[in-house]
């Protein structure tokens, strides 16, 4: 019978002990533990979120890098192409210039040759003239003994010279 009847003393002490330890434990244990657990959970959540964000960012960066690489490749090709073009242009130009130069040189050479030819011609003319003079002198010196013929002849020569210079130079 006694077993089923609550006793006031034990009831009272149970309430007192339970509530006392509840109040102490709440202050000393539960609040710090629960706070620590909550903080840790929040931290884990925050870190997971941060990790996800970092991954996202990483992916973005990788994408960007790839894009940049692609762009760089394109740029390289472009530059190469341009360089090739430039090279070709330069070559062309150089060739052209060379050709022009060659032409010019040829012209100059031709001119010089022409000049030399001219001067040679002049000299030859001179020579011819001198030789002609000489010959003429020789002839004249023999002919001039005869004054009359001599004069006429000189005159004839002169007129001939004036009238037909081509014949003299040619």
């Amino acid at each position: 019978m006694e077993i089923i009847l609550p006793k006031f003393g034990l009831f009272f002490w149970t309430v007192v002990i339970f509530l006392t330890f509840f109040l102490i434990l709440r202050k000393v244990a539960w609040k710090p533990i629960l706070r620590a657990l909550q903080e840790r959970e929040q931290e884990i959540e925050a870190r997971l979120q941060a990790a996800a964000e970092a991954q996202k960012k990483m992916e973005q960066i990788t994408q960007q890098n790839e894009k940049m690489l692609q762009e760089a490749l394109l740029a390289k090709e472009k530059i190469l192409k341009e360089a090739q073009e430039l090279k070709a242009q330069i070559e062309n130009q150089a060739r052209q210039e060379a050709r022009l130069l060659a032409e010019k040189m040829r012209k100059e050479t031709l001119q010089e040759v022409e000049q030399i030819k001219k001067s040679l011609k002049d000299e030859i003319k001179k020579e011819v003239v001198e030789m002609s003079f000489y010959v003429a002198e020789k002839i004249l010196s023999r002919e001039l003994r005869n004054k009359k013929t001599h004069d006429s002849y000189v005159e004839a020569l002169i007129s001939d010279l004036q009238l037909n210079p081509k014949r003299v130079t040619g």
Binding site: G9, R26, V28, L37
Partner: protein
């Protein structure tokens, strides 16, 4: 190194084999009285009986830690605090009688002088009652009865309020201190081990704390769970640790005392009703959605319902834990029954062979029951509070 299961087995074996030693308290008597042994172990006592060491020749050295009595005497309006030191109830009673009390079946009564005339004879109005042993009467205050002690008739009054820190109270205090040590240590570890995975005690109890928070408090209490969580955690661990301590030899059966479970259930009752929402009270006093006569019919039903819920909490915990203790003690008593209280060696060995496996089984079950009952008490408290707090829809 032993594996944990081996350790558990050894522990259980040690626990169980130490029980017969304890049950041997009562070997003095010729016939083994199961009922007396069971109740002696289950009920609260005012001393902590550790062991009886046989000295040979039927003599025993009884190792007992005496616990104080603390009683309020309404006749004298005093609070008395004293020890009753003695080997037998008779010796203790002699000390009690000097202080005006009578110790009868481990319970203290006031020696009722009010019914006696100065010469020690009963007053005329009580004469009739006082002459008959076992007579009970209720004059004005308290209950009075007559017993025979040492050949004389004594009138007792149970007006006395016993506030003694008994063995159960002492063990409850022990449980509280144990909780305080363990959980304040864990709380400190959380400070030290910040940003590190839990270890040791911390990792042992963290899942339990999280379980109580996420599986018990959150689903039932909604967003107000944080305010109740410390209470629920204290309740759970208090009951669990008490049950576990109760399984140890030399300790007392804490949650198997109806006073203890009644106290916890009362706290649940108070907590449920002070957090009752408007709808909760409306459901009790003016049940919605039924006809007018039904409303009046529902009122007493609902009013009784307030009490029956914590009442079932009280009975459930008390009965489960007591039943476990009764089972274990009954099985161990089998040894003394079959062994004819130690006089038959064959019977004793047979009894041991029979009782130990059964006891082991019941013990394993009791370890489960210890945590299960703590869980159920906490969960149901939580459910009741949650139901009281919730605003019901009108479809009921």
């Amino acid at each position: 190194m032993y594996s944990w299961i081996q350790r558990l087995y050894i522990f259980l074996l040690l626990v169980i084999t130490s029980f017969p030693l304890k049950a041997s308290d009562d070997t003095n008597s010729e016939k083994f009285d199961i009922s007396a042994t069971l109740f002696h172990h289950v009920l609260e006592t005012h001393d902590w009986h550790v062991a009886d060491i046989p000295l040979g020749g039927g003599e025993y050295l009884s190792i007992t830690i005496p616990l104080p009595w603390l009683v309020y005497n309404p006749q004298k309006k005093t609070i008395d605090f004293f020890f009753l030191l003695g080997h037998s109830e008779k010796e203790k009673n002699q000390i009690a009688q000097q202080k005006g009390y009578v110790l009868h079946h481990e319970k203290l009564y006031i020696r009722n002088e009010n019914v006696l005339s100065p010469d020690g004879k009963p007053l005329p109005e009580f004469e009739k009652e006082v002459e008959k042993i076992g007579a009970v009467w209720k004059p004005k205050k308290g209950s009075h009865r007559v017993i025979e002690q040492d050949g004389t008739l004594i009138a007792l009054s149970d007006e006395l309020i016993d506030l003694s820190p008994s063995k159960t109270v002492l063990h409850m205090l022990l449980v509280g201190i144990l909780l305080l040590i363990i959980f304040s240590k864990i709380a400190k570890e959380y400070q030290i081990n910040k940003d590190k995975p839990p270890k040791g005690l911390q990792s042992m109890f963290e899942p339990v704390i999280i379980f109580i928070r996420d599986e018990v408090a959150k689903p039932n209490l909604g967003n107000r769970y944080e305010a109740f969580l410390p209470y629920l955690l204290t309740l759970f661990f208090f009951i669990w640790f008490s049950n576990l301590l109760g399984l140890l030899p030399l300790s007392s059966n804490i949650m198997g005392n109806i006073s203890v479970t009644a106290a916890l259930a009362t706290l649940s009752l108070i907590l449920t009703n002070i957090n009752g929402s408007k709808d909760y009270w409306k459901h009790i006093f003016w049940f919605p959605g039924v006809s007018l006569p039904m409303k009046f019919l529902m009122l007493p039903v609902e009013l009784i319902g307030i009490i029956t819920k914590p009442f079932s909490l009280m009975i459930r915990l008390f009965a489960n834990i007591s039943a476990g203790h009764f089972m274990v003690l009954s099985l161990i008593s089998l040894i003394f029954l079959i062994g004819k209280n130690g006089t038959s060696a064959g019977g004793t060995i047979g009894g041991i062979l029979l009782a130990i496996p059964f006891t082991l089984f019941i013990y394993c079950l009791e370890f489960l029951v210890a945590i299960l009952q703590a869980y159920i008490f906490t969960l149901l408290t939580c459910v009741f509070i949650g139901q009281a707090m919730a605003s019901h829809e009108e479809h009921h």
